[in-house]
């Protein structure tokens, strides 16, 4: 035994060295790839960009400065302007809230049909998962623009687009939540002869509902941003107003809209962190 030890140690030493070398090599390789990606990306950007990089950096503060100067010149008359855009903001929030609610319900249905512990049929699971992948991967903007083209300008395309995306995105998270939930309550209910719906209602739902709500609130925050962006391409709300104001070059009004937006998003950020904290006891 004591004789074998040094040989063993030697072997360990050799292995350690090998491992260290391997790690160093793969780290270096990773760094080299990153640098390569960085430089080729920069080359593409320089080639494709209309203005030069240097001039862009120099001009960076011009636009914000112009906006602030415009605002400053207005003086106290400015605040009624800010208030003027609140109805637009409410439209945007309404789009987000409504489509998040509908998307939430759809996502719950999708999630039930794509969870391995609730559905035995593999085909159904695969199909639902694929369907969710597709709905999740389309940027909302693309769906919204197609519907805007087909239905004319209104808020509906935004509602449809955000609902579709939300259903896919939440559905995936919900599926993970359901699949990770404790199986024992389900077994318990099976043992007393509960039906499939009863099992979901009394064993799965109580476990996952707080998590679902938490994800839903997080999604609501994201969807407020999304609905603003969709407004930008013509779906109404504060986004559309902002796009028009930028085109007309009304600096003070642009800044008013931006303030409203940033204020709302930051407020929602805190509010959602608070709610989620209450729901599941942690921030994430």
């Amino acid at each position: 035994m004591s004789k074998a030890l040094p040989a063993n140690l030697e072997q360990i030493e050799v292995n350690l060295k090998k491992l260290t070398n391997q790690r160093t090599r793969s780290s270096l390789l990773g760094i080299a790839i990153l640098i390569l990606v960085f430089f080729s990306g920069t080359l593409v950007s320089l080639e494709a960009n209309a203005g030069s990089f240097g001039r862009g950096i120099a001009n960076f503060f011009n636009y914000p400065r112009d906006l602030f100067i415009d605002t400053f010149e207005m003086g106290w008359k400015y605040w009624p302007r800010v208030v003027k855009y609140i109805p637009e903001l409410i439209t945007t929030l309404n789009i987000a809230l409504f489509s998040t609610s509908i998307g939430f319900v759809l996502a719950v249905i999708f999630a039930i049909f794509s969870s391995r512990n609730l559905i035995r049929n593999k085909r159904v699971i695969q199909f639902t998962k694929f369907f969710m992948d597709v709905t999740r991967s389309f940027p909302t903007l693309i769906i919204a623009m197609v519907f805007l083209y087909l239905m004319g300008k209104s808020s509906l395309p935004a509602v449809i687009a955000i609902t579709i995306h939300t259903a896919g995105a939440l559905g995936k998270l919900f599926t993970e939540a359901i699949e990770n939930c404790d199986g024992k309550p389900i077994e318990g209910l099976s043992s007393v002869g509960a039906t499939w719906t009863q099992k979901i209602r009394f064993s799965v739902l109580p476990q996952v509902l707080p998590l679902f709500l938490s994800y839903g609130i997080l999604r609501l925050e994201i969807n407020v941003r999304e609905s603003t962006i969709l407004g930008f391409v013509g779906a109404g709300g504060i986004g559309e107003m902002l796009a028009a104001l930028i085109q007309w070059n009304y600096g003070a009004d642009v800044l008013a809209c931006m303030f409203l937006l940033v204020g709302t998003i930051i407020a929602l950020d805190y509010l959602s962190a608070y709610w989620r904290h209450n729901l599941i006891g942690v921030n994430q």
């Binding site: 990153l34 990606v37 960085f38 990306g41 920069t42 593409v44 950007s45 494709a48 960009n49 209309a50 203005g51 990089f53 862009g56 950096i57 001009n59 960076f60 011009n62 636009y63 914000p64 309404n94 789009i95 809230l97 409504f98 609610s101 509908i102 992948d133 597709v134 991967s137 389309f138 940027p139 909302t140 903007l141 693309i142 623009m145 197609v146 083209y149 087909l150 239905m151 004319g152 209104s154 808020s155 509906l156 509602v159 993970e176 941003r225 603003t228 962006i229 930008f232 391409v233 986004g239 930028i246 931006m258 937006l261 940033v262 998003i265 930051i266 950020d269 921030n283 994430q284």
Partner: protein
């Protein structure tokens, strides 16, 4: 048996009255919340005009849109004043006229040019035929139609269907007759229009024609694989360049699908997402250390950085991209910086939280060997948080790809802008579909790539949050 159960239940109820009351209370609370949500949904239904969907939804428009995404059409045009000159053009484009140079060779096989008394025949895919004469158009052999039709011009040179007075409305199904136009469209795939000045026939076929090589390309007669095979042959298709070069340039410069431009735009979008995420990671890394209480003792600095993260995140990438668009003009830099700035806020917050949640013991262990503060962080904290950092950054890479498409559409260029342009023309829906599929493929690819990288780098493809 049941009575004893009831007694048991009553006993339990008496023993734990709070528990039962609480359950009832929370149930009522849940019901109230449920009804509030229901009321909101009803209000939302009306304020957002969801009830108007049937009114706004124009099935004809949608059907045309979908048709054009998977089918292409050829136009056959005949002017009444010169019936011998029949033009056959792909999608009605004046630059893609069949048989312009060599009439016999390249007119499509569904068109039969005949002498005057037989008439020129256009055969549709459903075996129905439209026959063009000098003074009339005959529609024959359409399935589900019992009779043939003849469309003529009257003395005021207005088109009319011969004998239409005697026909029932049901027999004229598929016709739309107005004063200056007779249109026959039995299904979406065949369309015959007769005007006072001309006849225009649209013949639809399924598929994306000229996807690889456009109408005027020398490689057009060959299929993709035939052309690929040609690149290995010695005989040049055109004398100026080698077959391989021709093959590549013809695909790149395809006028119908614009592969070169679309792929370049896609590359721009990917560059925006990748470099934006890299920029954010590089910025957030040191800042997050400075914002974590177990690394930085200065409270004011931590507070400032936390608010900085909130602001960067709160000013959505929409607004960032507007500001950068003014500075850099359209191009990837706008996207890179917009994504980079927003995500510096997001990642900074997540990273600093991860640092604060690290195990103390490892750091203490390093400290016990007398290591400096820097070495303590290097060997006590970084090994713990590195997987989280990598996981978070890669996770954001996928959503940033979608973000980059959106920033592009708002003016920064890339595939978003190309998509907007194709949709705006109002008839290039096959390009719209092509780009939508491309975006979908790239987003799914980035999703898989980031999951794969997470798996090989940190052993799990789930997002790690601590």
């Amino acid at each position: 048996m049941s009575s004893s159960l009831a007694i048991e239940r009553d006993n339990i109820r008496k023993l734990f009255p709070d528990t039962f009351n609480q359950a009832r209370k929370s149930r009522i609370k849940g019901q109230i919340i449920f009804f509030l949500i229901l009321i909101y949904l009803i209000i939302g239904f009306f304020t957002l005009d969801v009830v108007d969907i049937p009114k706004k939804w124009k099935p004809q428009n949608a059907a045309m849109f979908v048709l054009d995404t998977y089918a292409h059409k050829d136009h056959v045009t005949m002017k009444w004043e010169n019936p011998d000159d029949i033009k056959i053009a792909f999608e009605g484009n004046y630059r893609s006229v069949y048989g312009r140079d060599n009439l016999d060779k390249s007119i499509p096989e569904w068109f039969y040019k005949n002498s005057d008394n037989i008439g020129n025949v256009i055969e549709f895919n459903n075996e129905g035929k439209a026959i063009l004469y000098k003074d009339r158009v005959e529609i024959v052999n359409f399935p589900k139609y019992e009779r043939n039709f003849t469309i003529k011009l009257n003395t005021n040179s207005k088109p009319y269907v011969v004998g239409s007075e005697d026909l029932a409305k049901d027999d004229l199904k598929g016709f739309r007759i107005t004063e200056n136009r007779v249109e026959f469209r039995p299904t979406l795939h065949e369309r015959v229009q007769v005007y006072p000045k001309k006849v225009e026939i649209h013949r639809y076929s399924i598929g994306w024609k000229y996807f690889w090589f456009d109408f005027s390309s020398p490689l057009e007669p060959y299929s993709f694989f035939e052309a690929l095979g040609l690149t290995f042959s010695k005989e040049r298709v055109v004398p100026e360049m080698s077959n391989l070069k021709l093959f590549l340039t013809e695909i790149k410069d395809n006028e119908a699908f614009m592969h070169g431009r679309v792929w370049w735009a896609m590359l721009e979008t990917i560059v925006m997402a990748v470099l934006g995420t890299m920029f954010a990671t590089v910025m957030a890394l040191p800042l997050s250390f400075l914002a974590a209480y177990n690394v930085t003792p200065i409270k004011a600095l931590r507070f400032t950085l936390r608010r900085l993260f909130d602001t960067l995140r709160g000013i959505d990438f929409l607004i960032w991209s507007l500001i950068f668009l003014r500075a850099f003009g359209p191009g990837p830099f706008t996207g890179i910086f917009a994504i980079g700035f927003t995500d510096t806020g997001t990642l900074g917050k997540l990273y600093s939280e991860a640092i604060e949640n690290t195990e103390k013991k490892q750091q203490e262990g390093v400290q016990s060997t007398g290591a400096s503060k820097f070495l303590q962080h290097r060997f006590g904290i970084i090994p713990q948080i590195l997987p989280i950092f990598v996981s978070q950054s890669l996770y954001y890479l996928e959503s940033n790809t979608r973000g980059a498409v959106i920033i592009g559409a708002m003016g920064a260029g890339g595939i978003g802008l190309q998509f907007l342009g194709a949709l705006g023309t109002g008839n290039d829906f096959e390009n719209v579909a092509y780009m939508a599929i491309l975006v979908l493929a790239v987003v799914i690819f980035m999703d898989r790539l980031s999951a794969w990288l997470r798996r090989i780098l940190i052993g799990t493809d789930q997002l790690i949050v601590r």
